[in-house]
Symmetry: none
DNA sequence: CAACGCTGTAAAGAACCGGTCACAAATCAG
DNA sequence: CTGATTTGTGACCGGTTCTTTACAGCGTTG
């Protein structure tokens, strides 16, 4: 596994050879691994291939493409669950505003009119990068193996045990529990949980959290009324109940992706 | 005073009539009272008029404006002390990044590239709203861990202990105690407490404070008549009694983001 | 000492919040 | 494409919390 293989990947799709080379150089200088395609079909093929590697940072797409429209590519990306939230920077001639609008509606994140200055491009790319990095941190799951009383949560192998017995949680439930246990016995405010689960500008009902907490409690085997594990602090948030037992909270920091 | 008059106000300045109507509908559905202007001068005039009402929640400004630049409006808002910290969401055409950057430098909080999806706008607006709401509440609660005699208040963990035993307080009670203990043994005037709890322009009966203090005292285990913790200074305010014990008041400044 | 203002105490109603559940919508697996 | 799982929403309920109101006690002041 050589060094290049660990760098974040950028996919660039454009039919102008010159531009492609320019972008490739520019972005590689910024520390990305750049993969290119020259038309829509090739682009989709490339994206498929990249999905497997799981390191796609963002995509730069020209709108005017032979064989397949750039907008098709935007749609394609937004449909693949593995790369759904990858930021997309769209390039197009100044003239076609229609397509520009369409692309943004389909989910492109930013837009750059050709021709552009390299400074401008780099600036945009950095902005996108920052944004994705931020939202990823927000929705991230604390890493490690945590124990608290009869609860064990191992985020590495995605496993939860309550008094030895393994239980199955949905992704959201899992993340809630992971956050709670990673905080030891301390309160997490509703607000913080919302951000942790759905990002800074979440668009779901805050009430939704109650529902997930509820189903999580059910799976943990809580008896309604008296929580053994998840404690409600009205008007504030939730916290894992300190059972007072062998409360060995331990985070194994071994695996940072 | 009709119902509408109590809703938070949003000011929208844009020269496109369609967009203005769209935004007005959208935001009114979200529960805001929407006031609009079509150019910079009108915007300033409108803002002046709104300042008096004191319920301005945030402003949405187009950057490309006839008569006066949107950036002028940003500057204007940031100079008015009454609305200095009102969040500003800036709209701009995708193309002019320069202005966008400038606007952010002048103090705009977020920007949205035109055209945008209504979902996106609503999400941003909510995020802004929450952010301002949160920081307003946060700023009124002193941060850190405070000890005084047998009392411990940890605002980070949302925890209160009296002689080791944890007690549960409602949000308001918690904030009262946090303020008192953060002042060490010094008086906090009723007036200051009112502002800290309900904001600069509170609308509740001042007597309400007595009630909360009373229930707080009960939870602390005060014996009526002789306050061990919260001392009343008639005509002035309250203060935490200096028990003379191991009065180690300490603020841990750990968490400043 | 009477009147007043300020605070403590108590209780009642309103507003709010969270728990519970059923169902709809979105997503995923085969 | 179909069925299963997961996620999100609306409705309802019960309890908590907030606010108002009433009244009692007490200190201050005239």
């Amino acid at each position: 596994m050589n060094e290049q293989e660990n760098r974040p990947i950028v996919v660039v799709v454009d039919d102008e050879e010159d531009l492609l080379i320019l972008l490739k150089n520019l972005l590689e200088r910024e520390g990305y691994q750049v993969l290119t395609a020259r038309d829509g079909d090739e682009g989709i093929w490339l994206l498929r291939r990249v999905i497997a590697r799981g390191r796609l940072k963002f995509a730069i797409l020209d709108l005017m493409l032979p064989v397949r429209d750039g907008i098709d590519l935007v749609r394609f990306i937004r449909k693949q669950k593995e790369i759904r939230d990858v930021p997309i920077l769209v390039l197009s001639a100044v003239s076609d505003t229609d397509k520009r609008v369409l692309a943004l509606e389909e989910g492109a994140d930013d837009f750059l009119a050709k021709p552009f200055s390299t400074r401008e491009l780099v600036a945009r790319v950095h902005a996108l990068d920052r944004r994705v990095e931020q939202t990823r941190q927000e929705s991230t799951v604390p890493r490690g193996r945590f124990e608290m009383g009869s609860l064990i949560v191992d985020t590495g192998r995605h496993e939860v045990r309550v008094s030895g017995r393994e239980i199955r949680l949905t992704p959201i439930e899992f993340r809630i529990l992971a956050h709670l246990i990673s905080q030891g016995g301390f309160v997490i405010e509703r607000h913080a949980l919302m951000i942790a689960l759905w990002g800074e500008d979440w668009e779901v009902e805050e009430h939704n959290l109650n529902v997930h907490i509820w189903s999580l409690r059910k799976k943990l085997g809580e008896t309604p009324g008296e929580p053994k594990y998840i404690e409600t602090l009205r008007g504030t948030g939730y916290r894992l109940k300190d059972t007072g037992e062998s409360t060995s909270v331990r985070a194994v920091s071994g695996e940072n992706r």
